[in-house]
Symmetry: C2
Subunit: 102 residues, 2 copies
DNA sequence: CAGGTTGTTAGACGGTTGTAAAACTATTGT
DNA sequence: ACAATAGTTTTACAACCGTCTAACAACCTG
């Protein structure tokens, strides 16, 4: 019961996701967010040698791509991976590079 | 009988692939290569408004990432998508962002 | 309210990268 | 051999992007 309706990505979102995943640090952040069920943003700062401004920027990109859902709760920011979007991205990637006999 | 042994990606290759997929033009090239069974490089030049130098560069990146196999036959360069690598990438991507209860 | 913590925004800097022009190699055809 | 075609490499340039510092806004606690 993880994913329900298969998500349809626009080309724009497909591009944003690909770019968001391209930076190793941002990918690592995404992995950390995925590792904890609800990840307070500050925990990220402990694990990566980057400024809070940089983390904020990366999270913004991840949200813009639709890969992460972030909502502020009090002074904390909770981030959550949207696995359906990741799934839609990989599916679309494989579809686009599928056999010519499609 | 498409894929046989599941490929194991190094972190380095994982990064190269992500970067290779990040540029929309390069992604489009990959799709075109995937569309034709064996794609002579020149056909790419007809379909994209970029110089041959640029195409050559993109192909080099795709090969470096392991996404494409290119071999020269006479004066033509034949490119082929390595779907097992694409599959390994998507699998690894999903694995890395999988449930914390992994 | 004062001070501390969390995250955002703006601006700047440096490195990376997509692109093209030009010169070059290699192959094919006349 | 000459010319044409296919692709590579080098160099240069503009745009993008990851990063930081600094200033800011919002929230919590004494």
């Amino acid at each position: 019961m993880t994913q329900r309706t298969p998500i349809r990505l626009t080309s724009r979102q497909f591009e944003l996701i690909a770019k968001a995943l391209a930076d190793p640090r941002r990918m690592a952040l995404l992995e950390t967010i995925a590792g904890e069920a609800e990840c307070p943003c500050q925990r990220l700062r402990d694990q990566f040698p980057v400024s809070k401004a940089t983390i904020s920027h990366h999270i913004k990109e991840l949200v813009r791509a639709g890969l992460v859902d972030a909502h502020k709760e009090g002074q904390y920011l909770h981030c959550e991976v949207r696995r359906e979007v990741l799934g839609a991205y990989t599916a679309e990637l494989l579809r686009r590079t599928g056999r010519p006999s499609r």
